[in-house]
Subunit: 309 residues, 4 copies
C-alpha cells in the first residue's frame, strides 16, 4: 500500500464516521472522563515500514485506561516469563457477569490479563512488593520510549479520581489477596494500577507505541527489542480473544484484528506484519468499548484487507 | 513454500509427535469412540494452490464430531444470513461450567455456534421444521462436495450411540425449546444433530473440505462458491475465539490459527490465504481437545509461520 | 381455641382478604390454569382434635401442582428411608436463577426435594423403574386416603398440557439422567411427575390430607400411621426452609409455619401440634406463590399465634 | 420440665458427646482461634421461667464471631425498622459459592443479614456514618445488658487479627460500596464489624443473652423490652432459614430450632416460648459450623421435644 493510499483510506474512514459522531455513552464515573466532548474522533496509523497517516483529533490526548494493560503485560512477561501464567489464565472470560464467580471457582486465578482482575495481578507481579513511585515511573518511561515521545504522562486528576471511586477494583484486589494472588500491600498494587490507567496519550503516540506488536516484538523503526516474537504472538492472541470484554468475539468477527479498548474511548489495534492503529471516540457501546472507534476499525479492515481471517 | 518443504514439515511434525503418542484420554462415552487405538496420529495439509502433504494415518476415517459444527454453520449462514445472529451469539462462553447458567441468563440465546447449545440452534435453523432424513442427506452431500469425495458417510452405530447417551444434549434442546429458540420438534433437531456428529472422515478429506475457509469462501481448486468472504471471516473468527471450548484462548496463544476440535480427536485448522490442515489423535486433554493434535498444530505453526499473529 | 373462635377467625381472614382479591397474576402456561377466575379465594382448617373451619370456595377443586411434592416425598421417605438423601439434598436453593448451575456444580444432586429437580428425583425414586400407571394409581390412592375422600382425582387435561409444555422439566430430567440420578426411562418419570402435579383437590380435602404432618406422622382422626415422627419433622423443616421457591425466607418471616405452594394458587401450611391449613387464590406473586394465599396465612398466624417462632 | 430434669438432660447430652470430642477442624485463620483446645465442650440453658442448667466448660469464654450478627440485627431493626429490608434480603443464600454472584445479580443487596455481606450492611446501617468507637461501645454495652454480666468484652487480639486477615470481608465491603449499599467509610464499617466478631463470651452469658428471642423480644427475667414480638419472630425465622450458612437446611432438619453458629465453635439456639441454649465446641464441620455443637443440639432437641416441627 502506498503512502497516498493510506492517507486516502484514513480520510475515507473519518468521513464515513461523520454520521456516527456523538453516538454511544461517554463514561461518566469520573469527572475527567465525563467532560470529554462526545463528538471527538481520531485515527492514526503507523506501518512497519515507517509510513504514517492520521485523521481527526490525532494530536489530542485522552485517557488510555485499559489499553495500558497490553503494555504492563509486555513488561510482566519480560520480567517473569511464563511463570506469569501460574497467576493468570489465557482464556476469554465469557460474560462480564461471570468474572467474580469464576475467580472464586478458579481459586483466585483471573481468566486472562486483559480483564481488571487479571491486570491487577499483572501489575502486582510487576511491582513485586517494590517501590510504588519507582514502578509508576518505570511504566511511564516505557510508554515514552514506545511512543518515542517524552510528552506522554499520567494525569494526576484521573489517577486520584480512579482511587476515589474504584471500589470494584478495591474489592477485586482484596479478593485476589484472600487467595494469595496479590503479593504487595493491596493499596500499593491499586495505586500503581490507578496510575497506569490514567496515562494520557494521543492517537499518534498510541499507534506508535503499539508498533512492536505488529513486528514480532521489535520496534521496526528504532530496532529496540521490546519483547520476543513468541510473547508478541501471545499478546496479540490475547487481544484477539479477550481485548474487548464481553464483546471480544464480536470485534473479532467484525474487525478481525487483535485489539484492546479503554473506557476513555480509545482502541489500539494491530495488523500483524503491517501496522499499528489507534482510534479514539469517547462514546461507548453497551459493552464499554468505543462505539465509533470499533466502527472505524471495521471500515479500515474492510478497506485495507488487514483482517487476519 | 515448495512442495518438498511441505512434505518435510509434515514429516518433522509427525516425528516430533512420536514421543507423545498415546497421551491423553480417549473419549469413552460411546463404544465406537472408546475402542479407537490411542496411538493413532495423522496430519494432512491442502494448500490454496493445490499442494498436499500428509503423514501418519491420514487415510483412516474417524468420527469428526464437533468439527461438523463449522460446516453446518456455513450452511446456516448461507440459508439465513445474518438473521442467524438473532438466535445465537458470537462470544466465547468462558468456562464450560457457565454454559447453562449463561443460557438461562441470556434467555436461551447460546453464546456462540460452536458450543453444543449453539450448534443445536444452528442445526434447528437449518432444519426449520423440515424433513429430518432430507436434512441429513443435505449435510452429507455438502461434506462430500467439500471433501471432493463421495466416500464420506455417517456412521450409523455412532449416531445411534449418541442418541442413546445424549442426555445432556437432550437437556439442552429442551431448555432451548422452553425459550422458544428451537422451532422443530426437539427429537427431530436432536436426530439431525446426532447424525452430523457421526460423520466419518479421514484427515485427507477433512483438510480438503475446509479449504474454502482459507480462501475467502471459494474452493480454490474447483472454484465452487461455498460462501461469501464476509461469512468466511466470521467463521474463522469464531473458530479462533470459540473453537476449543474453554481452551480456545490457549489454542490461540499456542497455535494462532482458527481451529475446531472434535471429541473424536480431530482438529481442523485454517491458515487464511495459505492452507487447510487436519490433524487427528484420539487422546484428549482435560478440556476435551486432542492433546497430540494441538501439539502437532503448535509445531506446524512454528515451522511454517502460519500463525496469524 | 374453641370451635366458635376458629370459625370467627377464618371469617375474619376471608373478610380481610376481600380488598386483595384478584391481585397477582394467574399462571397461564396451560389453558386449564389460565381460565381460573382470579378472584377465587378459599381457606380451610382441620385441627388435630378434629375441628374444622372454612370460608370461601373451600369446596371448589383446583390443581394442587407442586403441593404434591410434599406427599410424594412422604411416600419416598417411607420407601427408601434415609437413602433418599444420597440422591437429593436438604438445603434451600437460593435464587431460582441458580438451580441449574448448582445442579451442575453438585453433580446432579438437587438441593432439596421441593424444587422441581428434586421432586423429579423423588418421583423417580418412587417409580424405581416400575410401572407408570401403577405408580400414578398409588399416588392417587394415597391422596384419597389422606384426604379421606375418594373424589380426589387427576385432571387428564392438565396432565396432558403439562406434558405438552414441560420443556424445562424435560430439560431437567435429562440433565439429571446425564448424572445418573434418574434411573427410570426419562419419559416414565416425567409422566408420573406431570400426573402428580395434575391432582385436583379442594381446600377441604387438602387441609385434611396434610393433617398427619401436624401430628407426628399419625393421622389424629383415623389413627393411620402415615410416616414416623422423625420423618415428619424433616418434611416440616424442608417446607419451612424450601417450600416457597426463592421466597421461602420471606414466608418464614411473615407466616412462620412450614408451607408448600403450588402454581395453581394453593398453599398447604402446617401448625405443628395444632392444625393443617389449606388456602387457595389463583393470583401469583413474582416468586410464583399465591399472593392472597400468603397474605391470608400471615393474617391467620397473627390471629392464632400459630407461628412456630 | 422440672429443674432436675433439665440438669439430667444437659448431663446426658454432655456424656453422649464424650465420644465425639475433638472431631472437626478448629478454625486456624487467626492464631487466637487456632490455639483453642479442640476437646472443649460446653452447654448452657436458660429457660423463660428462670431455670438454668449447664455442663462442661460453660464458664470459659470463646470468640462468638458470627453469633454477634443476631444481636446487631436486633439493634438495627430497632433503629431502622423495616427500612432495613431495603438494604438486605431475607432469603437463604443457597451454596456459599453463590454469595458474590448473587450480590452482583441482585445489585448489591445481600440475601440475608446472617451471611457476611448482609451483616456488613447491618453494621453499616447501625453505624450510619457515626463514630466507630462509640458504636463499638454501644454494641458491647448491649451484649453486657443482654448477658446481665459486665464482664463481656471484646478481645483486642482477635479484632486485630481479623483486620489483618480479613481480605474477603474487605472485598465484600468494597463491592457493596460500589453498589452504594455501604454508607460509612469502608474502613469504619469494617472496624466495627471486626470488633463485634471479636466479642468473647461463655456459654452461660450467651444463653442468657439470647433469652429475649425465646420470649417475644422481652427479657422474661428482668422485663427489659429488647425488641418487638414481630421482630423477634423475624429474627428467629432468619436464624432457622439462614443461620448455618449452606447447612441451614440440614440444621433445621436435624435440630428444628432457630440457631446461629460462629466460626469460634459456638451456636446459639432458641426454643421459642421455652428457652435459650448456647453450646460450644471448637471443631468445625465442612460447612463451618461446630460439629459437636450441632450434634449436642440435635440430642437436646430429641430429649426435650423442643423442635418447633
Amino acid at each position: 500500500m502506498h503512502r497516498e493510499d493510506l492517507a486516502d483510506i484514513v480520510a475515507t474512514v473519518r468521513q464515513d464516521m461523520e454520521a456516527h459522531l456523538g453516538r454511544g455513552r461517554v463514561a461518566d464515573y469520573i469527572p475527567a472522563l465525563a467532560r470529554v466532548d462526545p463528538r471527538r474522533f481520531a485515527i492514526s496509523i503507523t506501518t512497519c515500514d515507517g509510513r504514517t497517516a492520521e485523521a481527526g483529533d490525532a494530536h489530542i490526548p485522552f485517557s488510555i485506561q485499559s489499553i495500558s494493560k497490553v503494555f504492563t503485560l509486555t513488561l510482566a512477561l519480560n520480567k517473569l516469563g511464563s511463570d506469569l501464567w501460574d497467576r493468570v489464565g489465557r482464556e476469554p472470560s465469557g460474560s462480564r457477569f461471570n468474572s467474580i464467580v469464576q475467580l472464586e471457582q478458579e481459586r483466585g486465578i483471573p481468566r486472562n490479563p486483559l480483564i481488571n482482575a487479571g491486570a491487577l495481578v499483572v501489575t502486582d507481579a510487576l511491582l513485586a512488593g517494590g517501590d510504588v513511585e519507582a514502578m509508576i515511573a518505570e511504566i511511564t518511561d516505557f510508554m515514552r520510549a514506545r511512543a518515542d515521545d517524552p510528552a506522554v504522562h499520567i494525569d494526576p486528576e484521573v489517577a486520584a479520581s480512579e482511587a476515589d471511586t474504584g471500589f470494584r477494583n478495591a474489592s477485586l484486589v482484596n479478593f485476589l489477596r484472600a487467595f494469595d494472588n496479590i503479593k504487595s500491600p493491596v493499596n500499593d498494587t491499586l495505586r500503581v494500577y490507578f496510575n497506569q490507567c490514567a496515562l494520557r496519550m494521543n492517537c499518534r503516540q498510541l499507534a506508535r507505541a503499539g508498533l512492536y506488536l505488529a513486528h514480532g516484538g521489535v520496534d521496526p523503526l528504532n530496532h529496540a527489542k521490546v519483547t520476543t516474537p513468541f510473547r508478541t504472538r501471545r499478546i496479540n492472541a490475547l487481544m484477539m480473544t479477550c481485548g474487548h470484554y464481553d464483546a471480544s468475539g464480536d470485534f473479532a468477527c467484525r474487525v478481525g484484528m487483535p485489539g484492546k479498548s479503554g473506557v476513555g474511548g480509545g482502541i489500539l489495534a494491530i495488523a500483524p506484519r503491517q501496522a499499528s492503529i489507534a482510534v479514539w471516540s469517547p462514546g461507548l457501546n453497551a459493552s464499554g468499548n468505543s462505539l465509533v472507534g470499533a466502527l472505524a476499525l471495521q471500515r479500515l479492515a474492510s478497506l485495507t484487507g488487514w483482517s487476519v481471517f
